[in-house]
Amino acid sequence: MTDDVNAADQPEKDQVDAPTETQDESLFDAPPMAEQERMVEAILFATAEPLSLKDIASRLPMGCEPQTALVHLGKRYDGRGVNLVRVGEAWALRTAPDLGFLMQRETIEHRKLSRAAIETLAIIAYHQPITRAEIEEIRGVAVSRGTVDQLLEMDWIRFGRRRMTPGRPVTFVVTQEFLDHFGLETARDLPGLKELRSAGLLDNRPPPTDMPGPGEAEDESQDDEEQTELFEE
């Protein structure tokens, strides 16, 4: 950062430095540079907005060289918890970017996943890899972008291979994170429908469609294997 500051400053600095020699002998007896640096430091600390060189100069006693003082200050704060940064044409002291995490305080909120998200997730888990069109077919409703995004963001699903079908649609699969969350070793550990039914979790009535009906009407021969395996009893 110091380098930036210095580099950026250089041309201007020369201009400002030039009159220094004459300035020192001037009537106004400017404070020593170390003092000027202190002053610039205090001013930048206390002001509510970044200050231009002109602003700084206008606050300093006559004969000061804010430009030079800024270079010193920049060096002094180089690598510190606070840095001298240039904001457009102005200067400010800011906390170091790498310490931004100290300025945040996380509040964690637990929320139940929406029904749409659970259903989508379940379909992906039971039928992976599965395309969005397939999910919609199973659910009978469109899958909102938000739902998929949420599941992706939670790192419970991810994109799988593209289907070798027209349009090469992307597929979704569940992640390791998903398995960890639900305490599963593999997606195959998910109970099959028959188990759900015999465990009394499902109505005994025969389902309206063939069970399990992976992929339906689609020609994804390469997936059928996994799929069948998944629901085999």
Binding site: E49, R94, I123, Y126, R139, G183, L193, L201, D203
Partner: protein
Amino acid sequence: MSAENPAQNDFEFDAERVADRVAAEALIVDVDGFEGPLDLLLTLSRTQKVDLRKISVLELARQYLAFIDKAKELRLELAADYLVMAAWLAFLKSRLLLPPDPAQEGPSGEELAAHLAFQLERLAAMRDAAAKLMARDQKGRDFFVRGIPEDVTRVRKVIYSATLMDLMQGYARTRTKDEFRPFVMDREATMTLEQALERMRGLIGYAGEWTDLTSYLPEGWEMDPKKRRSATAANFAATLELAKAGKIEIRQGEIFSAIQIRKRDHDG
């Protein structure tokens, strides 16, 4: 000027009173400026031009009373505080002037005077301290806080949760295109413990001899396997309850043989 001794000649005494009156008149202009009688007393004490520790309380009392007299003369409305203080100082003055009465109760005139002097000194010290405090470097005047505070940002992180059951139910819902219906026991073929117990209590009075538990199965529950299982289990649980309550005895010849029961009070 501060004459502690009351035994002065009349002329001096009068001159002093005149001086007091002049001073009082000057003060009276500013009567609203005083923060109470103690403040007035402190101001008056300054006129003695001595260290507060050496102040003549008697003299002060006289000055104060002169002030009050003057105020009355000018028909100035004085707050009650000032009059109370005047009355008290008049009392103090007499105490200080008269020889001490050994029979008198309470603090002596000197003690009262000392405390008044202490109060004045303390008030003056506090005023001085207040001035010193206000003369200190002050925030926002002499030194400054951070001009661009970067407040701690509250980052709200939402953690969504779902259980495996949610997942399975969700799946079941989509696959059956129907609402998930939790498994409900078929009450038709179930006998509860309560039902069996109720029934057994009624029957047990007749069980004088060892009787097979199976013979207690209610009518209509013996044939259907589901019903029989449920009734047997309920009856068995009921007999355990009754045995526990000391109503019956249970025996079983060997493993898997018939379980028999009988009434407890029939000794066997």
